[in-house]
Protein backbone atom coordinates (compact mmCIF):
# COMPACT_ATOMS: atom_id res chain seq x y z
CA UNK A 1 0.00 0.00 0.00
CA UNK A 2 1.46 3.35 -1.04
CA UNK A 3 2.05 5.72 1.88
CA UNK A 4 2.44 9.48 2.04
CA UNK A 5 6.14 10.24 2.40
CA UNK A 6 7.84 11.74 5.44
CA UNK A 7 9.96 14.83 5.01
CA UNK A 8 13.08 13.35 3.43
CA UNK A 9 15.74 15.23 5.40
CA UNK A 10 16.01 16.79 8.86
CA UNK A 11 16.07 20.33 7.44
CA UNK A 12 12.74 19.73 5.72
CA UNK A 13 11.00 19.21 9.07
CA UNK A 14 8.77 22.25 9.72
CA UNK A 15 9.71 24.32 12.81
CA UNK A 16 8.08 22.68 15.80
CA UNK A 17 7.04 19.80 13.53
CA UNK A 18 3.85 21.76 12.84
CA UNK A 19 1.35 20.14 10.49
CA UNK A 20 -0.38 22.85 8.48
CA UNK A 21 -2.79 20.59 6.62
CA UNK A 22 -5.76 19.67 8.84
CA UNK A 23 -7.17 16.16 8.74
CA UNK A 24 -4.26 14.65 6.88
CA UNK A 25 -4.07 11.64 9.22
CA UNK A 26 -6.38 9.96 6.70
CA UNK A 27 -3.54 9.90 4.17
CA UNK A 28 -1.67 7.50 6.43
CA UNK A 29 -3.08 4.02 5.84
CA UNK A 30 -2.85 2.26 9.19
CA UNK A 31 -4.25 -0.91 7.60
CA UNK A 32 -0.63 -1.91 6.94
CA UNK A 33 -0.26 -2.63 10.68
CA UNK A 34 -2.89 -5.39 10.58
CA UNK A 35 -2.04 -9.00 11.42
CA UNK A 36 -5.67 -10.21 11.52
CA UNK A 37 -8.75 -9.03 9.62
CA UNK A 38 -12.37 -9.05 10.79
CA UNK A 39 -14.77 -11.22 8.75
CA UNK A 40 -18.53 -10.70 9.18
CA UNK A 41 -21.01 -13.56 8.99
CA UNK A 42 -24.14 -11.71 7.91
CA UNK A 43 -26.30 -14.78 8.74
CA UNK A 44 -25.49 -14.14 12.41
CA UNK A 45 -25.42 -10.34 12.21
CA UNK A 46 -28.44 -8.65 13.79
CA UNK A 47 -27.50 -5.19 12.46
CA UNK A 48 -27.17 -3.77 15.98
CA UNK A 49 -24.14 -1.65 15.02
CA UNK A 50 -22.13 -2.32 18.18
CA UNK A 51 -19.03 -2.99 16.00
CA UNK A 52 -19.50 0.44 14.43
CA UNK A 53 -19.82 2.05 17.88
CA UNK A 54 -16.73 0.42 19.36
CA UNK A 55 -14.30 0.61 16.44
CA UNK A 56 -11.50 2.90 17.78
CA UNK A 57 -10.36 3.65 14.24
CA UNK A 58 -13.87 4.67 13.07
CA UNK A 59 -13.29 2.53 10.01
CA UNK A 60 -16.47 0.42 10.26
CA UNK A 61 -19.48 1.68 8.33
CA UNK A 62 -22.94 0.51 7.42
CA UNK A 63 -23.45 -1.07 4.03
CA UNK A 64 -26.43 -0.46 1.71
CA UNK A 65 -28.04 -3.67 3.05
CA UNK A 66 -27.71 -2.48 6.67
CA UNK A 67 -24.86 -4.82 7.52
CA UNK A 68 -21.40 -3.59 8.57
CA UNK A 69 -17.92 -3.73 7.00
CA UNK A 70 -14.44 -2.42 7.85
CA UNK A 71 -12.39 -0.18 5.57
CA UNK A 72 -9.25 -2.29 5.31
CA UNK A 73 -7.14 0.75 4.40
CA UNK A 74 -7.43 1.78 8.05
CA UNK A 75 -8.47 -1.33 10.04
CA UNK A 76 -5.51 -2.18 12.33
CA UNK A 77 -6.94 -5.60 13.17
CA UNK A 78 -7.34 -4.86 16.86
CA UNK A 79 -10.30 -7.27 17.19
CA UNK A 80 -12.41 -5.05 19.42
CA UNK A 81 -15.37 -5.40 17.02
CA UNK A 82 -15.16 -9.20 17.20
CA UNK A 83 -14.84 -9.08 20.98
CA UNK A 84 -17.87 -6.80 21.38
CA UNK A 85 -20.12 -8.57 18.84
CA UNK A 86 -22.44 -10.51 21.14
CA UNK A 87 -24.11 -12.61 18.38
CA UNK A 88 -20.48 -13.56 17.51
CA UNK A 89 -20.95 -12.60 13.88
CA UNK A 90 -17.34 -11.37 13.54
CA UNK A 91 -14.26 -13.59 13.54
CA UNK A 92 -10.66 -12.47 13.23
CA UNK A 93 -8.67 -14.39 10.62
CA UNK A 94 -4.93 -14.28 10.05
CA UNK A 95 -3.74 -12.11 7.19
CA UNK A 96 -1.83 -14.12 4.63
CA UNK A 97 1.69 -12.82 4.20
Amino acid sequence: MKQKKWPEAWHEVTPGCIVFEPGNASTYKTGSWRAQRPIWDNKKCIKCGICYVFCPEACISETAEGFFAADLDYCKGCGICAHECWPQAIVMVEEEV
Binding site: W10, P15, I18, V19
Partner: protein, 387 residues
Amino acid sequence: MGKVVGMEVGIAAAEAVGLCNIDVAAVYPITPQSHIAEHLSDIVHDGRIDAEFITVESEHSSISACAGASATGARAYTATSSQGLMLMHEILPIVSAMRLPVVMGNANRAVSGPLNIWNDHTDIMPQRDSGWIVMHAENGQEVIDMTIQSFKIAEHPDIMLPTVLNMDGFQLTHMIEPLEFPSQDEVNAFLPDRVPFATLHPDNPLSMGCFNMPEIFAETMKAKDAALINSKKTIIKIWNEWGKMFGRSYKPVETYKNKGAETLILTMGSMGETASVAVDELRAAGQSIGLVKIRLWRPFPLDELRAAIKGCETLIVMDRAISFGGAGGPLGTEIKSLMFHDHDRPRIVDFIMGLGGRDVKVEDFIAMVERAAKKKDETYEYYGVRE
Protein backbone atom coordinates in the same frame (compact mmCIF):
# COMPACT_ATOMS: atom_id res chain seq x y z
CA MET B 1 18.39 56.19 30.81
CA GLY B 2 16.26 56.13 33.90
CA LYS B 3 17.50 56.96 37.36
CA VAL B 4 19.19 54.42 39.60
CA VAL B 5 16.93 52.88 42.25
CA GLY B 6 17.64 50.58 45.17
CA MET B 7 15.57 47.45 44.74
CA GLU B 8 15.55 43.77 45.61
CA VAL B 9 16.60 41.75 42.57
CA GLY B 10 13.56 39.42 42.63
CA ILE B 11 11.24 42.44 42.62
CA ALA B 12 13.35 43.95 39.86
CA ALA B 13 12.94 40.77 37.78
CA ALA B 14 9.15 41.15 38.03
CA GLU B 15 9.42 44.88 37.19
CA ALA B 16 11.48 43.99 34.11
CA VAL B 17 8.82 41.50 33.00
CA GLY B 18 6.27 44.28 33.54
CA LEU B 19 8.09 46.36 30.91
CA CYS B 20 7.90 43.59 28.30
CA ASN B 21 4.25 43.83 27.23
CA ILE B 22 3.45 40.24 28.22
CA ASP B 23 0.03 38.74 27.57
CA VAL B 24 0.10 35.87 30.03
CA ALA B 25 1.98 35.03 33.22
CA ALA B 26 1.43 31.66 34.88
CA VAL B 27 3.58 31.51 37.97
CA TYR B 28 3.45 29.27 41.02
CA PRO B 29 5.31 30.72 44.02
CA ILE B 30 8.28 28.89 45.52
CA THR B 31 11.14 30.10 47.68
CA PRO B 32 13.37 31.92 46.65
CA GLN B 33 11.36 32.85 43.55
CA SER B 34 8.22 33.91 45.48
CA HIS B 35 8.89 37.65 45.31
CA ILE B 36 8.90 37.43 41.52
CA ALA B 37 5.53 35.64 41.55
CA GLU B 38 4.00 37.96 44.14
CA HIS B 39 5.25 41.20 42.63
CA LEU B 40 4.32 40.23 39.08
CA SER B 41 0.86 39.36 40.37
CA ASP B 42 0.70 42.85 41.95
CA ILE B 43 1.75 44.49 38.70
CA VAL B 44 -1.02 42.68 36.79
CA HIS B 45 -3.77 43.08 39.39
CA ASP B 46 -2.97 46.74 40.06
CA GLY B 47 -3.74 47.25 36.39
CA ARG B 48 -0.25 48.48 35.54
CA ILE B 49 -0.11 46.10 32.57
CA ASP B 50 -2.81 44.46 30.46
CA ALA B 51 -2.03 40.79 31.00
CA GLU B 52 -3.62 37.64 32.35
CA PHE B 53 -2.07 36.25 35.54
CA ILE B 54 -3.07 32.59 35.83
CA THR B 55 -2.96 31.31 39.40
CA VAL B 56 -2.08 27.73 38.60
CA GLU B 57 -2.08 24.83 41.05
CA SER B 58 1.46 23.64 40.31
CA GLU B 59 4.53 24.28 38.22
CA HIS B 60 3.56 21.45 35.86
CA SER B 61 0.50 23.58 35.14
CA SER B 62 2.32 26.91 35.01
CA ILE B 63 4.65 25.76 32.24
CA SER B 64 1.77 23.98 30.47
CA ALA B 65 -0.39 27.11 30.63
CA CYS B 66 2.50 29.14 29.21
CA ALA B 67 2.96 26.60 26.41
CA GLY B 68 -0.73 26.79 25.52
CA ALA B 69 -0.76 30.58 25.67
CA SER B 70 2.38 30.78 23.58
CA ALA B 71 0.87 28.44 20.97
CA THR B 72 -1.95 30.94 20.45
CA GLY B 73 0.61 33.66 19.77
CA ALA B 74 0.70 35.21 23.25
CA ARG B 75 3.83 36.42 25.00
CA ALA B 76 4.09 34.23 28.08
CA TYR B 77 6.29 34.29 31.18
CA THR B 78 6.82 31.99 34.09
CA ALA B 79 9.31 31.74 36.93
CA THR B 80 10.25 28.98 39.29
CA SER B 81 12.97 27.35 41.36
CA SER B 82 14.30 23.96 42.41
CA GLN B 83 11.41 21.52 43.03
CA GLY B 84 9.18 23.65 40.84
CA LEU B 85 11.60 23.33 37.96
CA MET B 86 11.83 19.58 38.59
CA LEU B 87 8.04 19.38 38.36
CA MET B 88 8.17 21.27 35.06
CA HIS B 89 10.77 18.88 33.72
CA GLU B 90 8.31 16.73 31.77
CA ILE B 91 6.98 19.71 29.82
CA LEU B 92 10.28 21.51 29.12
CA PRO B 93 11.39 19.43 26.08
CA ILE B 94 7.86 19.69 24.66
CA VAL B 95 7.94 23.50 24.79
CA SER B 96 11.26 23.60 22.97
CA ALA B 97 10.23 20.91 20.46
CA MET B 98 7.13 22.94 19.63
CA ARG B 99 9.42 25.97 19.23
CA LEU B 100 7.33 28.04 21.66
CA PRO B 101 9.14 31.17 22.89
CA VAL B 102 8.17 30.92 26.56
CA VAL B 103 10.43 32.97 28.83
CA MET B 104 11.28 31.67 32.29
CA GLY B 105 13.17 33.02 35.25
CA ASN B 106 14.73 30.46 37.58
CA ALA B 107 15.90 31.35 41.08
CA ASN B 108 18.56 28.68 41.46
CA ARG B 109 18.11 26.56 44.55
CA ALA B 110 19.31 23.14 45.70
CA VAL B 111 17.15 20.17 44.84
CA SER B 112 15.75 18.06 47.70
CA GLY B 113 16.52 15.89 49.55
CA PRO B 114 17.26 16.64 52.17
CA LEU B 115 15.18 19.77 51.96
CA ASN B 116 17.32 22.83 51.42
CA ILE B 117 16.03 26.13 50.08
CA TRP B 118 19.38 27.80 49.42
CA ASN B 119 21.43 28.38 46.34
CA ASP B 120 23.28 26.03 44.06
CA HIS B 121 22.84 24.91 40.45
CA THR B 122 21.47 21.42 41.00
CA ASP B 123 18.03 22.49 39.78
CA ILE B 124 19.02 23.72 36.33
CA MET B 125 21.51 20.95 35.53
CA PRO B 126 18.90 18.17 35.13
CA GLN B 127 17.16 20.45 32.58
CA ARG B 128 20.35 20.84 30.55
CA ASP B 129 19.24 18.54 27.74
CA SER B 130 15.72 19.95 27.38
CA GLY B 131 16.51 22.03 24.30
CA TRP B 132 16.03 25.40 26.01
CA ILE B 133 18.32 28.40 25.76
CA VAL B 134 19.91 28.54 29.21
CA MET B 135 21.52 31.73 30.49
CA HIS B 136 23.00 32.80 33.81
CA ALA B 137 22.95 36.30 35.28
CA GLU B 138 25.66 37.52 37.59
CA ASN B 139 24.07 40.56 39.25
CA GLY B 140 20.80 42.45 39.53
CA GLN B 141 21.38 44.72 36.55
CA GLU B 142 21.98 41.65 34.41
CA VAL B 143 18.72 40.13 35.67
CA ILE B 144 16.80 43.19 34.44
CA ASP B 145 18.66 43.43 31.15
CA MET B 146 18.63 39.71 30.39
CA THR B 147 14.94 39.34 31.29
CA ILE B 148 14.07 41.92 28.64
CA GLN B 149 16.57 40.40 26.18
CA SER B 150 15.08 36.95 26.80
CA PHE B 151 11.79 37.83 25.08
CA LYS B 152 13.55 39.17 22.02
CA ILE B 153 15.86 36.15 21.89
CA ALA B 154 13.08 33.61 22.38
CA GLU B 155 10.73 35.18 19.81
CA HIS B 156 13.27 36.04 17.12
CA PRO B 157 12.18 34.34 13.85
CA ASP B 158 15.66 32.83 13.49
CA ILE B 159 15.44 31.28 16.98
CA MET B 160 11.87 30.51 18.21
CA LEU B 161 12.97 28.67 21.34
CA PRO B 162 12.14 29.01 25.03
CA THR B 163 14.67 30.63 27.34
CA VAL B 164 15.46 30.23 31.02
CA LEU B 165 17.36 32.93 32.86
CA ASN B 166 19.10 31.63 35.96
CA MET B 167 19.60 33.92 38.92
CA ASP B 168 21.13 32.52 42.08
CA GLY B 169 18.53 32.11 44.81
CA PHE B 170 18.99 34.50 47.78
CA GLN B 171 22.60 35.34 46.81
CA LEU B 172 21.10 37.26 43.93
CA THR B 173 17.28 37.24 44.17
CA HIS B 174 17.20 38.71 47.67
CA MET B 175 20.00 41.28 47.33
CA ILE B 176 19.07 44.93 47.30
CA GLU B 177 21.19 46.53 44.60
CA PRO B 178 21.39 49.89 42.85
CA LEU B 179 19.59 49.19 39.58
CA GLU B 180 18.81 51.13 36.44
CA PHE B 181 15.60 50.45 34.49
CA PRO B 182 15.19 51.33 30.86
CA SER B 183 12.10 53.43 30.15
CA GLN B 184 8.98 51.87 28.64
CA ASP B 185 9.71 53.67 25.36
CA GLU B 186 13.22 52.28 25.27
CA VAL B 187 11.97 48.74 25.90
CA ASN B 188 9.30 49.18 23.22
CA ALA B 189 11.97 50.30 20.77
CA PHE B 190 14.16 47.29 21.60
CA LEU B 191 11.43 44.66 21.91
CA PRO B 192 8.87 44.63 19.09
CA ASP B 193 5.54 42.78 19.31
CA ARG B 194 5.77 39.06 18.84
CA VAL B 195 5.18 37.86 15.27
CA PRO B 196 4.43 34.17 15.73
CA PHE B 197 5.47 31.61 13.13
CA ALA B 198 2.12 29.84 13.56
CA THR B 199 -0.76 30.11 15.99
CA LEU B 200 -3.53 27.84 17.16
CA HIS B 201 -6.76 29.40 15.93
CA PRO B 202 -10.07 27.75 14.95
CA ASP B 203 -10.25 29.76 11.71
CA ASN B 204 -6.99 28.30 10.50
CA PRO B 205 -6.57 24.79 11.91
CA LEU B 206 -3.12 23.26 12.27
CA SER B 207 -1.49 20.76 14.59
CA MET B 208 1.40 21.37 16.97
CA GLY B 209 3.26 18.76 18.95
CA CYS B 210 2.37 15.94 16.61
CA PHE B 211 3.17 12.27 16.86
CA ASN B 212 6.44 11.13 15.24
CA MET B 213 7.06 7.67 13.89
CA PRO B 214 10.59 6.17 14.08
CA GLU B 215 11.00 7.14 10.40
CA ILE B 216 11.01 10.87 11.25
CA PHE B 217 11.76 11.25 14.98
CA ALA B 218 15.55 11.36 14.58
CA GLU B 219 15.27 14.00 11.84
CA THR B 220 13.01 16.08 14.10
CA MET B 221 15.53 15.82 16.95
CA LYS B 222 18.40 16.87 14.68
CA ALA B 223 16.34 19.85 13.50
CA LYS B 224 15.76 20.85 17.13
CA ASP B 225 19.45 20.51 17.96
CA ALA B 226 20.39 22.58 14.91
CA ALA B 227 17.87 25.28 15.91
CA LEU B 228 19.49 25.56 19.33
CA ILE B 229 23.05 25.56 17.99
CA ASN B 230 22.16 28.14 15.31
CA SER B 231 20.52 30.40 17.89
CA LYS B 232 23.92 31.47 19.23
CA LYS B 233 24.73 33.87 16.40
CA THR B 234 21.37 35.61 16.72
CA ILE B 235 21.69 35.79 20.52
CA ILE B 236 25.05 37.54 20.04
CA LYS B 237 23.47 39.91 17.51
CA ILE B 238 20.68 40.78 19.99
CA TRP B 239 23.22 41.31 22.79
CA ASN B 240 25.24 43.64 20.55
CA GLU B 241 22.10 45.57 19.75
CA TRP B 242 21.39 45.90 23.49
CA GLY B 243 24.96 47.10 24.07
CA LYS B 244 24.53 49.83 21.45
CA MET B 245 21.22 50.97 22.92
CA PHE B 246 21.98 50.77 26.63
CA GLY B 247 25.77 50.81 26.91
CA ARG B 248 26.04 47.48 28.72
CA SER B 249 27.50 44.69 26.62
CA TYR B 250 26.73 41.01 26.92
CA LYS B 251 28.77 38.09 25.60
CA PRO B 252 28.34 34.30 25.76
CA VAL B 253 31.59 34.05 27.74
CA GLU B 254 32.58 37.05 29.85
CA THR B 255 36.19 37.65 30.84
CA TYR B 256 38.03 39.53 33.53
CA LYS B 257 41.82 40.04 33.36
CA ASN B 258 42.15 36.84 31.33
CA LYS B 259 44.66 38.09 28.77
CA GLY B 260 47.94 36.21 29.20
CA ALA B 261 46.93 34.76 32.57
CA GLU B 262 48.53 31.40 33.41
CA THR B 263 45.65 30.38 35.64
CA LEU B 264 41.98 31.04 35.00
CA ILE B 265 38.99 30.59 37.28
CA LEU B 266 35.77 29.63 35.49
CA THR B 267 32.42 30.45 37.11
CA MET B 268 28.76 30.60 36.24
CA GLY B 269 26.27 32.90 37.96
CA SER B 270 26.64 35.31 40.86
CA MET B 271 29.89 33.89 42.27
CA GLY B 272 31.76 35.53 39.37
CA GLU B 273 31.63 38.82 41.28
CA THR B 274 33.34 37.31 44.34
CA ALA B 275 35.85 35.50 42.15
CA SER B 276 36.82 38.79 40.50
CA VAL B 277 37.76 40.18 43.92
CA ALA B 278 39.90 37.07 44.53
CA VAL B 279 41.56 37.62 41.14
CA ASP B 280 42.40 41.22 42.13
CA GLU B 281 43.90 40.09 45.44
CA LEU B 282 45.95 37.32 43.83
CA ARG B 283 47.15 39.66 41.08
CA ALA B 284 48.23 42.18 43.74
CA ALA B 285 50.25 39.36 45.30
CA GLY B 286 51.96 38.78 41.94
CA GLN B 287 50.00 35.83 40.56
CA SER B 288 49.18 35.50 36.86
CA ILE B 289 45.48 34.85 37.16
CA GLY B 290 42.18 35.84 35.53
CA LEU B 291 38.53 34.90 35.31
CA VAL B 292 36.15 33.58 32.67
CA LYS B 293 32.41 33.42 33.22
CA ILE B 294 29.89 31.33 31.30
CA ARG B 295 26.82 33.43 30.63
CA LEU B 296 25.33 31.23 27.91
CA TRP B 297 25.17 27.62 29.07
CA ARG B 298 22.98 26.36 26.21
CA PRO B 299 23.82 26.50 23.36
CA PHE B 300 27.33 26.00 24.73
CA PRO B 301 29.71 28.69 23.44
CA LEU B 302 32.72 26.49 22.75
CA ASP B 303 34.47 28.85 20.29
CA GLU B 304 34.11 31.78 22.68
CA LEU B 305 35.40 29.67 25.58
CA ARG B 306 38.43 28.55 23.51
CA ALA B 307 39.23 32.17 22.69
CA ALA B 308 38.82 33.25 26.33
CA ILE B 309 41.16 30.60 27.77
CA LYS B 310 43.72 30.54 24.97
CA GLY B 311 47.23 30.13 26.30
CA CYS B 312 46.29 29.49 29.92
CA GLU B 313 47.96 26.56 31.72
CA THR B 314 45.39 25.76 34.39
CA LEU B 315 41.65 26.20 34.19
CA ILE B 316 39.86 25.92 37.53
CA VAL B 317 36.18 25.08 37.02
CA MET B 318 33.78 25.98 39.81
CA ASP B 319 30.89 23.55 39.79
CA ARG B 320 27.91 24.43 41.94
CA ALA B 321 26.28 21.08 41.20
CA ILE B 322 27.04 17.36 41.31
CA SER B 323 26.60 14.64 38.75
CA PHE B 324 26.29 11.77 41.20
CA GLY B 325 28.45 8.84 40.23
CA GLY B 326 29.87 10.76 37.28
CA ALA B 327 33.33 12.02 36.41
CA GLY B 328 32.93 15.42 38.08
CA GLY B 329 30.57 18.37 38.19
CA PRO B 330 28.37 18.98 35.11
CA LEU B 331 30.35 22.06 34.07
CA GLY B 332 33.75 20.41 34.62
CA THR B 333 32.96 17.18 32.80
CA GLU B 334 31.41 19.02 29.90
CA ILE B 335 34.36 21.37 29.44
CA LYS B 336 36.83 18.47 29.69
CA SER B 337 34.87 16.54 27.10
CA LEU B 338 34.55 19.51 24.72
CA MET B 339 38.29 20.21 24.92
CA PHE B 340 39.38 16.57 24.66
CA HIS B 341 40.70 16.97 21.10
CA ASP B 342 42.39 20.34 21.69
CA HIS B 343 46.14 19.66 21.70
CA ASP B 344 47.04 22.78 23.66
CA ARG B 345 44.20 22.59 26.15
CA PRO B 346 44.92 23.62 29.74
CA ARG B 347 44.98 21.33 32.73
CA ILE B 348 41.38 21.36 33.93
CA VAL B 349 40.79 21.23 37.68
CA ASP B 350 37.18 20.77 38.75
CA PHE B 351 35.94 21.80 42.21
CA ILE B 352 32.47 21.05 43.51
CA MET B 353 31.61 23.75 46.02
CA GLY B 354 28.98 26.20 47.21
CA LEU B 355 26.26 23.57 47.54
CA GLY B 356 22.93 24.26 49.25
CA GLY B 357 23.76 27.88 50.09
CA ARG B 358 27.29 27.29 51.42
CA ASP B 359 29.02 30.64 50.98
CA VAL B 360 32.00 30.78 48.63
CA LYS B 361 34.06 33.70 49.86
CA VAL B 362 37.06 35.47 48.41
CA GLU B 363 39.38 33.42 50.64
CA ASP B 364 37.73 30.22 49.39
CA PHE B 365 38.59 31.09 45.79
CA ILE B 366 42.17 31.85 46.88
CA ALA B 367 42.36 28.52 48.71
CA MET B 368 41.06 26.67 45.65
CA VAL B 369 43.64 28.37 43.43
CA GLU B 370 46.36 27.25 45.87
CA ARG B 371 44.96 23.72 45.96
CA ALA B 372 44.75 23.58 42.13
CA ALA B 373 48.41 24.59 41.86
CA LYS B 374 49.43 21.62 44.04
CA LYS B 375 47.09 19.16 42.35
CA LYS B 376 48.85 16.78 39.98
CA ASP B 377 45.93 15.13 38.18
CA GLU B 378 42.61 16.25 36.75
CA THR B 379 40.26 14.32 39.03
CA TYR B 380 37.48 16.39 40.56
CA GLU B 381 37.38 17.37 44.23
CA TYR B 382 34.90 18.69 46.73
CA TYR B 383 36.03 21.96 48.25
CA GLY B 384 35.20 22.88 51.82
CA VAL B 385 33.64 19.56 52.80
CA ARG B 386 34.61 18.64 56.38
CA GLU B 387 36.68 15.44 56.44
